[in-house]
């Protein structure tokens, strides 16, 4: 159970924020937005609801899940398990919370983790208006990912505090040179045992949703081993998600 919730947390932390995904130094990023529908279509995205399954094949787990994201930085991942909804995590723009597995009640994240989530949650995309958000990008050469020649982009967000100490907040995105979409992003664990460990999220099954191409499958790997997969069945956009659903439940 502990293992499972760790995997879940991992998956979600690095993945939810990037449900919609990004691409090069300016050229690569521009091409990415063009290739996936154009900036106008992206600009029209106000919120997204993705419905699918979280799969942990090694443990035979397959949980229905709903992922909500709303501009500018709200998100919530809800899984259904034995008829109960488990939130892992929700973030209302300021505060994050999760369902405790023992009590099934919501519990707030450590304040520092909420601050990290604030930095790590972007809608509609990490690269959307990245300059305005104070992020920087650099093109760091090429790398082959799953046999695909890719541009390697380093995305540096504003620094975050980890255990009270300010640290650089960065990740790497690999954009298919041929068709401009990211096929993988690599983020780095920030705390505890996961600190410094690279987590790789492989993106595929890109499909068009109201004019924007989004990946419907995310396979997350550590050291080349699949830890979890998110397989999305349906993505709806601009469904007018109420802000309240992201907030810490009061009762």
């Amino acid at each position: 159970m502990k293992k499972f919730s760790q995997i879940l947390l991992l998956t979600v932390l690095s993945l939810v924020t990037n449900l919609t995904f990004a691409q090069t130094a300016d050229d690569v990023i521009n091409k990415y937005f063009e290739a996936t529908g154009g900036r106008a279509k992206w600009a029209a995205l106000k919120d997204v609801k993705a419905t699918g399954k979280l799969k942990v094949p090694s443990q035979g787990l397959e949980l229905p899940m709903v992922m909500l994201q709303k501009s500018p930085n709200k998100q919530k991942m809800t899984m259904t398990f034995q008829g109960k909804e488990i939130v892992q995590p929700s973030f209302d723009g300021n505060e994050g919370w999760n369902t405790n597995f023992m009590t099934m009640k919501p519990e707030k994240m450590e304040a520092e983790d909420s601050e990290i989530m604030k930095q790590d949650t972007d809608f509609p995309d990490a690269f959307w208006n990245f300059k305005e958000k104070g992020f920087s990008i650099t093109l760091e050469g090429e790398e082959s990912i799953e046999g695909v020649a890719c541009h390697k982009i380093k995305l540096t967000k504003k620094p975050v505090k980890v255990d009270g100490k300010e640290e650089e907040n960065f990740s790497y995105y690999f954009f298919d040179k041929e068709n401009s979409v990211p096929v993988m992003f690599r983020s780095v664990g920030k705390k505890g045992q996961m600190k410094g460990i690279a987590i790789e999220s492989f993106l595929s099954d890109y499909q068009e949703v109201n004019g924007v191409f989004l990946p419907f499958t995310i396979n997350q790997k550590m050291n080349g081993k699949v830890m979890a997969s998110v397989v999305i069945e349906k993505i709806e956009t601009n469904v007018n998600v109420d802000d309240k659903v992201f907030a810490f439940p009061q009762n």
Binding site: G60, E168, R186, G196, Y206
Partner: protein, 1033 residues
């Protein structure tokens, strides 16, 4: 014209012949999602040679291994993770940028403790993101980087000490400087081609003041020399522009290796350890005037022992009089070097470096031939880091047990046997010691699993170990009356035979054979080496400090292998470059060395692999690095050694130590190189490096476990690494790689049964990864699948879908795993969660259909599951288990549906109750009683209070069914009688609950017309079982 036509046809013919086989795929175009797993062990760890801490964060420390990369702890030494996985694994020096310590890290490659087995670096690397990514910043021919010093005021200014080549001359030695963060380098100080920079240190308060020691040294395969007139200590006071010798007080005559350290708290105080001609002036020297004058303070054993291997002094950052000296056992002085004590207990021998905690000098880290250690009491008692698997294997063997065991010998860490798989992972405690000293070749008796052969350096001992009875008999051959002294290599060849289980070979300069497990030996060859007396002067080896450890023994046999097809054919390779073969069991020997084209004379014949397919075919690899030749040499003969053809291509980047031919596909070869594992699928026309979870570590030996098709690698720096199941590589043909998607044939998956117990390693202990026990679906994709849906479904023989898997989509080979279980049942909704909701029942053995849908195309293959032949269960047991598990699986869901119906009915009934205002209506419609009964029933069906921990409530029917289901589903055999009896009890209860719900539903249907008449709310029919199952809630 005729000529042209002939030419045209001949080229066409030639192209056809070669094109038939050549498969020009490279790297991850082939290997896709195949990956290696690491099993360590970290029990004994391996040689760690360099420690460097973060300047302001005491929790962060970097450890550089001799052959196993860079490891970082973020938690003060509890856990370590490797951070240099894609680059040269031999580390010389590490430095942290004092201005950007979280981001900028420098690593100089090439270990500087120049033992015989040391490897070679490839320059200096820099990371600007805390070690996630590294860029080679140059100095590609530096081979060994001894020091990196960063100007704290301007961190783009970096000084690098290059010790350089060990086996030859080099003009790349000296002190280098960059002023632009490593973009360009200037050699600012150089002595000569055979004298390298062994240490650079910088005054922390005045970075213009630098000290650099230079060392004249050279190794050959058969000798070592430390010292000469060029060894010296220099000082620069102008940032490296000018350098002056500072020998006032130093010994006269030739000097050897010189270590130098500066006291951070008082830069006028310097320490230097000096190797010199006379024993009376070797030892520790101290200067209190920044090097102007020196005084000898101590010449104890630990201060003078083996300078080439231990030449480091580390000074406490707070107290200039506390110093640690790396040495055989390590020693520490608290009085400025006058007296020393041993650093105490818990340390392995052969100490290489120390690091003082920046805040607390009683906490010191140390490293040695056995890993990284930490003391909390100022260097009396040390604890070992148990998670750094940088063990250096020289060889590896496997047996035929299931799971198979792994055998091998380690640099300075004995000989070992460990499991290739263990419930919960392979832990340090799972390894069994089968030899002392340095371990080398270890072989299991081919038929008796309790017998193991092992040895220690120079065949000082060869043991036959009975691991069951804990006995070890020494069995090495001795010279007979007229024999010369036997010369045994440091890494003496011993090997067993596939033709005679009790046979053992051992090589000195002669080949020795025993057919009785080492009790009696017969010499079956003359001296097979060049027997060059000039290469047999080991007692003179060492230079200023004699060093005759056996490590330089030469003119010895190194490689021995019997043909698997004919026991009379034996191939021998010698360290001085001979390849010899006998076709009559040793009566006659042919020296075929001269037949090998373009092979420099005396190139070490490192390994010979007789073919599995043809008696006259063999592969030979040669290692020229001890002659300063780093080129790869790989040859194949098909005529018993008369002619040889090189199968080296430009793909190979470093020298080669081992080759393994697949036993089913002669075009599939595996190569152990100094820079990692290479694979060819076309008989050597193209080679690809295998990089998936496989660092470019030196691979000294490759074993192939045939039952599992596992490739087992002895790495010299990262323990044992296994590539499970290489069979997909056999199936790569021109045809298969041309298809969009091609399934590969699989052996039936054996359905492993285990208790689920096991795995108890503490935080900070390494746990080796297990092979998968899941079924694998393996296919080749011509290109990565990025756009549109791709699904993988599994169906049983009735066509019922049993699994829906997230596809693997890499170009190349894809391996997708299935746990051959159904998804867990949909259990009743309650307050808490239950075990059964996590458990899917195992599907029965049999043939399943795998269907991949990619865009509009469908691809199908069979997947066969087979019961474990070693199982304690009969097929009949399994059948009962499956029936009961499925019955309980369905009961979970049926109960879920019972509760679902109650949950759906209750709101309406409650609503109706409030509208029954008269006693007549209440009597006519007994809804209130019904809701009470329903509530009461539901309370017996599911837990509606408490939590998932100690606030748990009394279990109800859901918990009981789910509990029994979990027990039955997780055991492969027949359920117990108690379980079957319990099943009956639970079935009756469930049926009773179902009947009650049905009765209520019937009663409500009967009342429906009257209720409608009374204008009561309509009781809508509940959703169907199928609707309930399909819903997420």
């Amino acid at each position: 014209m005729k000529k042209y036509i002939l030419f045209f046809f001949s080229t066409l013919l030639f192209q056809n012949l070669s094109a038939q086989d050549a498969l020009p795929l490279k790297g991850d175009e082939i290997f896709g999602s195949m990956r290696a797993r690491h099993i360590g062990p970290a029990l004994m760890s391996g040689r760690v040679v360099e420690l460097e801490g973060h300047p302001t964060n005491a929790k962060i420390l970097y450890a550089g291994a001799g052959g196993g990369g860079v490891w970082k702890t973020n938690d003060g030494g509890v856990t370590y993770n490797p951070i240099f996985e894609k680059h040269n694994q031999s580390i010389g020096a590490i430095a942290i940028d004092p201005k950007n310590p979280d981001q900028v890290i420098w690593v100089g490659t090439g270990e500087v403790w120049t033992r015989n087995s040391v490897t070679v670096g490839d320059g200096i690397y820099k990371s600007t993101d805390g070690g996630q990514n590294w860029t080679n910043m140059g100095l590609p021919n530096s081979e060994r980087i001894s020091s990196i010093k960063i100007n704290p005021n301007n961190t783009n200014e970096v000084f690098v000490g290059v010790l350089g080549a060990l086996w030859g001359n080099s003009a790349d030695r000296g002190v280098y400087k960059t002023t632009n963060g490593g973009k360009t380098w200037e050699k600012i100080f150089y002595v000569n081609e055979f004298t390298g920079c062994s240490d650079v240190t910088m005054d922390p308060k005045n970075p213009s003041v630098l000290y650099a020691s230079f060392w004249e040294f050279r190794r050959t395969a058969y000798s070592f020399n430390s010292g000469g007139v060029n060894s010296a200590l220099y000082k620069s006071a102008d940032g490296g522009k000018t350098w002056n010798k500072i020998h006032n007080g130093f010994p006269s005559g030739k000097l050897g290796r010189i270590a130098v350290a500066i006291a951070p708290s008082n830069p006028n105080i310097l320490y230097s350890v000096i190797e010199s001609e006379k024993d009376t002036d070797k030892g520790l020297y101290r200067s209190d005037d920044a090097g102007a004058t020196w005084k000898r303070t101590n010449g104890d054993f630990e201060l003078v022992v083996r300078p080439f291997y231990f030449s480091r002094i580390v000074v406490d950052p707070k107290d200039p009089n506390i110093i640690c000296k790396a040495s055989l056992n390590g020693s520490i002085s608290k009085d400025g070097g006058k007296t020393f004590r041993s650093i105490g207990g818990g340390f392995h021998s052969d100490v290489h470096d120390f690091w003082f905690d920046i805040n607390n000098s009683n906490q010191i880290f140390g490293c040695d031939d056995g890993g990284v250690y930490r003391t909390l009491d100022g260097g009396n008692v040390w604890e070992k880091a148990k998670c750094i698997p940088v063990s250096q294997f020289y060889q590896v063997a496997v047996d035929n047990q299931s799971p198979f065991k792994v055998y091998g010998g380690l640099q300075d860490n004995g000989s070992w046997v460990g499991p290739s798989s263990k419930p919960g992972g392979i832990e340090n405690r799972d390894w069994v010691s089968v030899g002392q000293g340095d371990g080398f070749r270890v072989f299991p008796h081919p038929k008796n699993p309790s017998i193991v052969y092992s040895e220690m350096q120079g065949a000082e001992y060869i043991w036959r170990v009975n691991i069951e009875k804990n006995q070890a008999k020494t069995i090495k051959p001795f010279p007979e009356a007229n024999d010369p002294k036997f010369r045994f290599n440091w890494n003496t060849p011993i090997t067993t035979s596939v033709h005679n289980a009790d046979r053992l070979y051992c090589g000195s300069q002669f080949l020795h054979k025993s057919d009785d497990m080492g009790e009696t030996w017969v010499k079956i060859s003359p001296d097979l080496t060049t027997n060059d007396p000039t290469k047999q002067q080991q007692e003179n080896s060492g230079g200023l400090s004699a060093d005759n450890s056996g490590a330089e023994n030469h003119c010895t046999i190194f490689a021995v292998n019997e043909s698997p097809l004919d026991e009379k054919i034996i191939w021998v390779g010698t360290d001085d470059g001979n390849v010899q073969v006998t076709f009559d069991g040793g009566k006659n020997w042919n020296n075929v060395t001269a037949n090998i084209p373009n092979l420099p004379k005396n190139t070490w014949a490192y390994f010979i692999e007789p073919s599995n397919f043809d008696k006259n075919t063999a592969y030979a690899v040669f290692d020229g690095h001890t002659q300063n030749d780093f080129k790869p040499y790989v040859y194949k003969t098909t005529d018993g050694g008369k002619t040889w053809k090189s199968i080296v291509t430009a793909d190979l980047k470093s020298y080669v130590r081992n080759i393994k031919e697949d036993f089913k596909n002669p075009n599939l070869l595996f190569l152990g190189t100094e820079g990692g594992l290479y694979v060819t699928i076309d008989g050597g026309q193209n080679w690809s490096q295998f990089k998936n979870n496989m660092p470019p570590v030196a691979v000294h030996w490759i074993a192939h476990q045939r039952e599992e098709d596992a490739l087992v690698l002895a790495t010299h720096g990262r323990g044992v690494i296994i590539v499970d199941d290489i069979s997909p590589l056999r199936q790569l043909t021109k045809e298969t790689i041309g298809k969009d998607l091609q399934f590969f044939d699989r052996k039936p998956t054996v359905m492993r049964e285990n208790s689920g117990f096991g795995g108890y390693a503490a935080m900070g202990e390494f746990v080796g990864e297990n092979p998968t026990s899941l079924a694998q679906i393996v296919y080749f994709l011509k290109s990565r699948h990025t756009f549109g849906k791709m699904s993988v479904e599994v169906f049983d023989q009735k066509g019922t879908k049993v699994a829906d898997l997230p596809a693997s989509k890499s170009k190349g080979i894809n391996i997708l795993e299935w746990n051959y279980r159904l998804v867990p049942p949909k259990v009743a909704k309650g307050k808490t969660i239950v075990r059964g909701g996590f458990t899917g029942p195992t599907v029965p053995a049999g043939t399943y259909k795998v269907k991949i849908t990619k865009a509009s195309k469908v691809y199908e293959t069979d997947l066969v599951l087979k019961a474990d032949p070693k199982s304690i269960h009969t097929d009949e047991d399994r059948k009962v288990q499956n029936e009961v598990a499925m019955k309980l699986y369905n009961m979970n869901e049926e109960l879920g549906y019972v509760v679902d119906q109650i949950d759906n009915l209750m709101p309406t009934l409650t609503d109706i109750s409030t509208k029954l205002t008269t006693s007549k209506l209440k009597k006519q419609f007994p809804v209130e009683a019904m809701t009470k009964e329903m509530t009461a029933l539901k309370e017996t069906l599911v837990v509606l209070k408490g939590d998932n921990y100690v606030g748990t409530a009394e279990p109800q029917l859901r918990e009981k069914i789910s509990g029994l289901y979990g027990e039955v589903a997780d055991y492969a055999g027949r359920p117990s009688n108690a379980q079957l009896a319990n099943l009956k009890v639970l079935t009756d209860k469930l049926n009773a609950a179902k009947s009650k719900v049905d009765a209520w539903k019937n009663q409500l249907s009967a009342l429906a017309p009257a209720m409608a008449k009374a204008q009561l709310p309509e009781v809508k029919s509940v959703r169907s079982f199928e609707e309930f199952k399909a819903s997420d809630m």
